[in-house]
């Protein structure tokens, strides 16, 4: 029985190899800039397309192709650092993270516009000599990918430990200001690191493209996701650890498939991530706590004086919004309804991320839980919709808090990555638990929203329902924030250690925040499900979690009216740019970047 296991091991190492290459670039950037670079996958995609263009149009041999990719992506890395991230220096820690998300959006759209959305073939330029291992074979490309991964990690390790510039890089990583006082040109260090990491990312893109003989503009999200998971397993910012993390992730997936089948592969990948985060948050390859501790979560948020909107104005806006429901503008009302339902998600996120300081990248999972809970109660048990929606709120509050529980003892980036993983796990459980959720077929024929037996089918009535829900949740949240509870929440954000020493039970308060936010988001997801009549595991995708975070930051973290504003504006955004058709996502990305650059504390300011 060794036969198949040898094959599974080889296969795991082959895919792990690719994850490792991605993770090394991410680890390098994190090591210096303390930043999870969400644009890394996009640089990887750009690299693949530069390689494709140079082979197709210039007929370059492999070494020249790689050289062009290295040069092109290094320049791109320099541009990202210089134009996208350096202006944000000294701002809140969340700003660069979001900027990389915006940059990634812009790069992916550019690639798609220039390179057509259809996948393209990227033929390998290596002579394909294949070696028999077990029952399968590996080719020269597998060896080259492994060689470049391990080679670059070794080189980087030596560079960081034994060269003067390497010391400067590490000094910059430990304390940017102190390094600067010692005469280190930290700007130049950052540029160098971004250039190296991006060149590496581009080379990975071109090699992986050749490996599958297929590149497309959507390959970036998966690449970022798997690269980040591999990096976390190896330890944030640990370059040699990233290699180990990548290989371990590949092996876990491969053995997971061997034991349970391929639809569980990502479930295993993310379960491994959560396990590592809970048991060994510094990664598998560090036993000592020698990473600089994560900054206190409070510094994640840009301090600012929030814009105080008089109550009378808020009341006026609410009345105007309610009156707008009378207008014969169904398209506008539908768009606003979508915005308001998303606002329930944004309200929950602004509470956990802004007020309590737990930046969550998996918040859309709460909508999914709410949608499925209410849909199933109505479909399978025949509950009236108003009761099932309410029940979905409580179920989401309970279930949502429970699944996020492992993230409670974490801070900063760790919370963000853990919740990203938890969000993926929820979606995969929905996909695979066919007996309950009907799997990939989704829930069909979900009855429309109703109150006391009266079906709300007109745009107008659903609009008013959503508006009423948002106003109710917003008032409640404002009330809680002004009370003792709000102060306890903020104290955890500002300094969890101090809060604990004053007797604030941090976990209990975090649970309360997730439960309260989960109720609102669950109700929002439930109403959405009844409005659409059909949902599946993709209706509330990981991208929605990221959009939700941008909404909350746009409005101002922790700011209740800000979250609603952010949700309505960003939901309306793609609609506003509709005339631009293919270019509108690009416009969305650019505007997002401008906002982060010029108004990082959001439109209404953080609270």
């Amino acid at each position: 029985m060794l036969g198949p296991w040898l094959d599974y091991t080889v296969n795991g190492l082959i895919i792990g190899n690719i994850y490792a290459l991605l993770a090394v670039g991410l680890a390098l950037i994190f090591g210096v800039a303390n930043l999870i670079n969400f644009a890394h996958g996009s640089v990887y995609t750009v690299g693949a397309y530069i390689g494709w263009a140079s082979i197709t149009y210039l007929h370059t041999p492999l070494p020249v192709t790689l050289l062009l990719v290295v040069a092109g992506c290094a320049l791109l890395g320099i541009a990202i650092e210089r134009l996208g991230l350096r202006p944000l220096h000294g701002r809140s820690r969340i700003a660069p993270l979001l900027a990389t998300i915006g940059i990634s959006l812009v790069l992916d759209q550019l690639v798609q516009l220039l390179g057509s959305p259809d996948p393209r073939a990227l033929p390998s330029q290596l002579p394909d000599v294949r070696f028999q291992i077990g029952n399968g074979t590996i080719g020269t490309l597998d060896l080259l990918i492994a060689g470049i991964g391990i080679g670059s990690a070794t080189l980087l390790y030596v560079f960081l430990r034994h060269t003067k510039l390497g010391w400067a890089v590490r000094a910059t990583a430990q304390d940017q200001d102190a390094a600067r006082q010692m005469g280190v040109d930290t700007d130049r260090i950052n540029l160098t690191v971004f250039a190296i990491a991006s060149a590496l990312g581009g080379v990975s893109g071109v090699l992986v493209g050749m490996y599958y003989n297929s590149i497309d503009p959507n390959m970036s999200f998966d690449a970022t996701l798997k690269g980040v998971v591999a990096m976390m397993i190896g330890g944030l910012g640990n370059v040699p650890g990233a290699i180990g993390g990548g290989l371990l992730l590949g092996l876990t997936e491969s053995y997971g498939i061997a034991l349970f089948g391929s639809s569980y592969r990502n479930l295993f990948a993310f379960a491994l991530l959560i396990l590592i985060l809970v048991l060994a948050p510094n990664g598998l390859f560090r036993w000592r706590r020698d990473l600089p501790p994560e900054p206190l979560t409070g510094t994640f948020i840009a301090p600012s004086r929030p814009v105080r909107i008089p109550r009378s104005v808020l009341a006026g806006i609410t009345v105007a919004a309610a009156l707008l429901g009378l207008a014969p503008l169904p398209y506008l009302l539908q768009t606003l309804t979508n915005g308001l339902l998303t606002a329930l998600l944004a309200l929950s996120l602004t509470l956990v991320a802004g007020t309590v300081g737990q930046v969550s990248l998996g918040q859309a999972a709460l909508l999914a839980i709410g949608g499925y809970a209410s849909g199933l109660l109505a479909l399978d048990l025949g509950w009236p919709v108003d009761v099932s929606v309410l029940a979905a709120g409580f179920i989401t509050a309970a279930l949502g808090t429970l699944v996020v529980y492992p993230a409670f003892r974490m801070r900063g980036h760790y919370v963000a990555i853990a919740t990203l993983g938890i969000g993926q796990i929820v979606a995969l459980v929905i996909l695979n638990w066919t007996g309950l959720t009907r799997g990939a077929m989704g829930l069909t024929a979900i009855p429309p929203p109703s109150i006391a037996g009266v079906e709300l089918t007109s745009v107008r009535s659903v609009y008013w329902l959503s508006l009423a829900l948002v106003v109710a949740m917003a008032l409640l949240q404002t009330r809680l924030l002004a009370a003792h509870l709000g102060r306890a929440w903020r104290s955890i954000r500002e300094d969890e250690v101090a809060a604990r020493s004053y007797g604030v039970d941090a976990n209990r308060y975090k649970a309360l925040a997730f439960a309260f936010g989960g109720f609102g988001a669950g109700v929002g997801g439930a109403v959405t499900a009844h409005l659409y009549s059909y949902i599946d595991y993709q209706t509330f995708s990981a991208q929605l979690s990221i959009v939700a975070l941008t909404m909350v930051i746009l409005g101002g973290l922790g700011n209740v009216p800000g979250a609603i504003l952010g949700a309505v504006v960003l939901t309306g955004f793609p609609e506003l740019f509709r005339a631009a058709a293919e270019y509108r996502m690009l416009a969305y990305g650019v505007v997002l970047l401008l906002l982060i650059r010029y108004r990082p504390q959001g439109l209404l300011g953080t609270v």
Binding site: S214, I257, Y331
Partner: protein
């Protein structure tokens, strides 16, 4: 500071104006078709394929003395949040007489209640989800019914190719799952055996371990329920693992892209297609020639489907008038519309789908799709 504020306010004002008066100028006499589909995002390539075929069909309808047709293409990114907003827009725009799309079931079926209540036909040309047309009597589809295609594929694999123990890889979406379930049932009905099924997620590229798992179930052939990009990647890894079993695949792998992406590994893949450019039928030849002349590339099945849709709309408008109700009633009555995919298209008013797709049995030989010569594969 002032500049920034003005800019923001300006954008907001512009946007509000666009939302309120969200209609583009169109010739007053043209018939307008609303199209909701992906032009950006993960599925953008399908939207751009639709566009190419719509433009070609509209030219031909006009040249043939038919009605002047325009379409308003709204990008939904195949996202349900956007497709429902588009649905409201279309339903309340009196110029629009029929809606086409969306691409995915997630986006299409979320918008169905709005079209149904608005009494505007939602024509889901790619929506094979068995429940799509159950959304109401305004949901119609020309998508190939998997209930027809899968028994055909099973027959090809079992009786045509002589494969008795099959391993199935399927896309883990509503489409792929439906296809897999119908295929497994058809295989059992024919007295053969499915030794293993594995689902994969859209965008997945590594299949080596999945294939090892299937290999150890000792199949005599692999069946792919996938689109062309995935099928090419899978075929390459099947060969990398040293597996020699024949591969048969559902018709959606039929695309010139399969050959480009798969290279040598796709030689010997068996498939069937309801659209095959070398098909001697005159309607197919006329379409392929016209498409090639206009775009300088070969069309694929998605192009053929979209072309058929617009020709159908032209015929509906001509026979039943350019009104929503005329088109709705016309769909049940119209008979034998010339079609690239079906030969001729007639809807069953009970299921609101088209029956009788033709399947040509194909094999990839010397980097080309060719008609299957009836020879059983030697290994297997």
């Amino acid at each position: 500071m002032l500049g920034r504020r003005t800019l923001l306010a300006g954008t907001a004002a512009l946007g509000t104006a666009a939302l309120v008066h969200g209609r583009s100028a169109a010739a007053a006499d043209a018939v307008v078709v609303g199209v909701s589909g992906p032009l950006t995002g993960q599925m953008a390539q399908y939207g751009s394929q639709w566009k190419a075929s719509f433009d070609l069909a509209i030219e031909q309808i006009k040249a043939g003395g038919g009605p002047a047709i325009e379409y308003q293409f709204e990008d939904s990114q195949a996202d349900p949040r956007q497709s429902v907003a588009i649905a409201q827009k279309f339903v309340n725009d009196d110029r629009i007489v029929i809606e086409v799309g969306d691409f995915s079931s997630t986006a299409s079926m979320a918008a169905s209640p709005i079209y149904q209540r608005g009494k505007l036909v939602q024509f889901g040309q790619t929506n094979s989800h068995p429940d799509f047309t159950k959304g109401g009597d305004y949901m119609w589809s020309s998508s190939i019914s998997q209930a027809e295609e899968q028994p055909n594929l099973a027959d090809y694999a079992i009786n045509g190719l002589g494969l008795k123990k099959l391993a199935v890889l399927h896309l883990n979406t509503d489409w792929g799952t439906t296809a897999k379930n119908l295929f497994v049932k058809a295989v059992q009905d024919k007295g053969a055996e499915v030794v293993g099924t594995e689902g994969f997620l859209p965008g997945e590229k590594d299949f080596r371990s999945t294939l090892v798992r299937l290999r150890d179930a000792n199949p005599t052939g692999f069946i792919l329920e996938a689109y062309y990009a995935d099928a090419a990647v899978i075929a390459r890894q099947v060969r990398d693992l040293g597996l020699k079993q024949p591969i048969a695949a559902v018709g959606s792998v039929y695309s010139p892209k399969l050959l480009e992406l798969g290279g040598d590994a796709v030689n010997g893949i068996y498939t069937q297609s309801n659209f095959f450019p070398d098909d001697p039928r005159p309607e197919v030849q006329a379409f392929v020639k016209a498409f090639q002349a206009k775009y300088n590339r070969a069309p694929d099945g998605f192009n053929a489907t979209a072309f058929d849709t617009m020709i159908l709309i032209g015929a509906l408008v001509k026979q039943f008038g350019a009104t929503r109700e005329g088109i709705h009633e016309g769909l049940a009555k119209i008979k034998d519309v010339p079609s690239v995919v079906y030969g001729s298209m007639t809807f069953d008013p009970a299921t609101r789908r088209v029956a009788g797709a033709k399947f040509e049995r194909l094999v990839v030989k010397d980097d080309k799709f060719t008609l299957w010569d009836g020879v059983k594969p030697s290994v297997g």
